[in-house]
């Protein structure tokens, strides 16, 4: 066994090199993200099929959504992805922990803004207009079955996405605490990198949800 020189912080025994450890972490996270792709993919698949079966109802349902808020939230999430990437870069380049925390908190504020916009301007309005499945109606209600089907898809897809956002905010809170406790350096910042992958993945899900739910229903 080759003796390691100075043992870098965060370097686990089972790995040959720091690079191997980093690549193993990235690969492991991507394996998890692939399961997430297929998890959301199941919903996207059923959305495609039911949309093709009830096209007019889905277009009608899509018109209940407000493009302005969907587009704003897309921009907010993309901006949060940028700040997340910059948080990781700040750690990579060995900047002070204050700067890392600044970018992490900015990411959290943007993530929370996404949920706030969703709750205040979209879901609350849907509640007032009686569009929420199970809350506004169980069976009956004023909408056609096809529109109800669309609203079910809308709430399950955006709901699970928002749930992922909430989990992401929890992860970011842990990262802020870890950063404050000097756990990271330019040599070791794997939790930041791995959590960043998760955050960007959630962004990508929204990049697809936005056109599928809001845009492709004949807005012209």
């Amino acid at each position: 066994m080759a003796a390691h020189g100075a043992h870098p912080p965060g370097f686990a025994h089972q790995f040959e090199t720091v690079t191997q450890q980093r690549e193993a972490g990235t690969l492991g996270m991507w394996v998890f993200l692939v399961t997430e792709i297929l998890f959301f993919g199941g919903m996207f698949t059923s959305y495609i099929i039911y949309r093709s079966l009830h096209l007019q109802s889905f277009i009608q349902g899509s018109h209940e959504l407000i493009v302005r808020y969907g587009a704003t939230n897309t921009a907010v999430l993309i901006f949060s992805s940028l700040t997340m990437a910059l948080a990781i870069r700040t750690a990579q380049t060995g900047k002070s922990k204050g700067q890392i925390i600044f970018w992490l908190i900015l990411t959290m504020i943007l993530g929370a803004s996404f949920i706030a916009i969703k709750l205040r301007f979209e879901w609350y309005r849907d509640y007032v207009e009686g569009l929420i499945p199970g809350v506004s109606w169980l069976d009956g209600g004023t909408h056609t079955p096809g529109v109800k089907m669309f609203m079910c898809f809308y709430f399950f897809m955006t709901g699970l996405h928002a749930l992922h956002m909430v989990v992401g905010l929890g992860i970011l809170t842990v990262l802020v605490i870890m950063t404050a406790r000097n756990k990271f350096s330019s040599q070791y910042y794997a939790p930041l990198e791995i959590s960043g992958l998760y955050w960007h993945f959630v962004d990508i899900v929204w990049i697809f949800l936005f056109p599928l739910l809001y845009l492709i229903g004949g807005r012209y």
Partner: protein, 120 residues
């Protein structure tokens, strides 16, 4: 990238801030474009345009924000496999569900089949 001859010293690729900002601007432009296009009547091409822009945006996020441009081949294969399996799920589910209501009307030489079934 410098060769790492059994040494721990090689550091991961640090993406320049300008790259991140350019990717961010491209993503914002994509969002504006996809929203704008949705209000133009392109018929069925509206869906194609929306999904094409979404795929381009996803690719930018994956390559630059998620550092896959600088990742190992193994990681890339795992990601591609994930999307390949997603493709299998969507294609096979659709090919089942969307062909269930096809009614087969025998035409031309296929008329032989009902004829024969009547004979025997």
């Amino acid at each position: 990238m410098s060769e790492h001859a059994g040494h721990d010293s090689d550091t991961p690729h640090v993406v320049p801030i300008t790259t991140y900002v350019l990717v961010f601007l491209a993503l914002m432009l994509g969002t504006a474009l996809t929203t704008w296009v949705a209000y133009i009547d392109l018929g069925r091409w509206n869906t194609v345009a929306a999904l094409t822009i979404a795929v381009i945006k996803m690719t930018l996020v994956v390559l630059f924000f998620m550092h896959v441009k600088y990742a190992t081949g193994l990681t890339r294969i795992v990601i591609l496999a994930g999307f390949f399996w997603l493709g299998i799920m969507i294609t096979l589910s659709c090919s089942d569900e969307l062909t269930r209501r096809w009614e087969i009307v025998p035409q031309g030489w296929q008329m032989i089949v009902p004829l024969f079934s009547r004979l025997f």
